[in-house]
Symmetry: C2
Subunit: 225 residues, 2 copies
């Protein structure tokens, strides 16, 4: 039974890695499209999001099947519940990539990045992609060092998010209302992508250490809305 359970967990892990890979491609294309006002690339991200949704639903169904058939308890049970939460967070990361692509499409043929913020958003985009790659690798290898790397990318994203607001609220800001709206939404999307990456990374840490901290976990969940 343990053998069967561990095979099931490997299946769950492989699916989490697969979804994380798709999310990485989505955020990579979305931030490139956003930076280059590439509406074709943005369309690709928007269309591809359904695949991420479907794979997350399939993973949830697998987790529920494991609960029903193998009736795990104690730490095994928490691992499966944790997988359900990770799948929801990865889905949201894919959705954020889609939101960034939608901003790009909405403004096309105008540039989506407000004047004066290009380098900031390009940095945020690179950090989002970096965090997604590190998260995929973390899910694959459970190498704990990656958790710190993801946290530090998220810290940089938080600082850049603050910098965007400082810029928008400074006297030097010449942007029209539309540019201010775009900067506000785009910055929030980029910053929250990092928050979700940290949220998933924390759950992986739990899977590998068994150190279950529900309150932190819950704060993590709600802090993202």
């Amino acid at each position: 039974m343990r053998e069967v359970f561990h095979q099931s967990l490997e299946d769950v892990q492989a699916r989490l890695v697969e979804i994380a890979e798709l999310v990485t491609v989505a955020i990579d294309k979305a931030t490139q499209a956003f930076g280059a006002s590439d509406v074709g690339l943005a369309e690709e991200v928007i269309e591809a999001d359904d695949v991420i949704d479907d794979k997350a639903v399939a993973l949830d169904e697998l987790a529920i099947e494991i609960l029903a058939r193998q009736q795990p308890v104690a730490r095994d049970l928490r691992i499966v519940v944790s997988a359900l939460r990770m799948s929801a967070s990865l889905e949201r990361m894919g959705d954020i990539a889609e939101h960034i692509a939608q901003l790009t499409r909405m403004r096309f043929p105008d540039r989506a990045i407000p004047k004066g913020l290009k380098s900031t958003f390009l940095k945020m985009g690179r950090l989002d992609v970096e965090a997604a790659r590190q998260l995929t690798e973390l899910l694959r290898t459970q190498d704990g060092d990656l958790i710190e790397a993801i946290r530090s990318a998220d810290d940089e994203l938080d600082d850049l998010h603050v910098a965007v607001f400082e810029k928008v609220l400074s006297d030097s800001w010449q942007g029209e209302a539309a540019a201010t709206v775009d900067a506000t939404l785009a910055s929030r999307y980029h910053e929250r992508f990092g928050d979700h990456a940290v949220s998933v990374a924390k759950k992986v840490a739990y899977l590998s250490t068994g150190d279950w901290t529900p309150s932190t976990d819950a704060i993590e969940i709600i802090a993202k809305d």
Copy 2:
């Protein structure tokens, strides 16, 4: 065993109702504080959010304990998994109330509602509170008519959200960048509170009908980020 399980489910339901009641108080105070620039009331909401978080964590722990001890299968299992998801959504609704309160505190002593949008945001606030009250009642009574009422409040919120952007992007908009940022964030918070209410309501519909539609459910989950 069924008897024990049904007692456990009643406990889960009672806790969901209790959290929904706290969320209703939070959004009521938060939207009042936002409308009246009442920083004291805003502080109350910000402080009270920890209670909602703790109760949601306790509910998650109870759900996991039910899975471990009673090993539900089939529909019973899906009900418990669904409760975990409802608790996460209610937590997020409480967090959105806190975000609205934080906007109020951030702008104090200035008014948090940008000029020209007061009546729109007061309407959005009333709709959020209405949706929260209806959701609490739905969780208590499982009266299916309330699901439609919550959907229609959410539809109105979506229309008002669009109206806020139309206003902000119109030539008549005189707001400074700070007002545009506030309107963008506040409108998004108000609108998403309704989305979460619908998300929870759909799960209640499932609990009462047994009609499990994972893909809709998943789209519901990700559509909120």
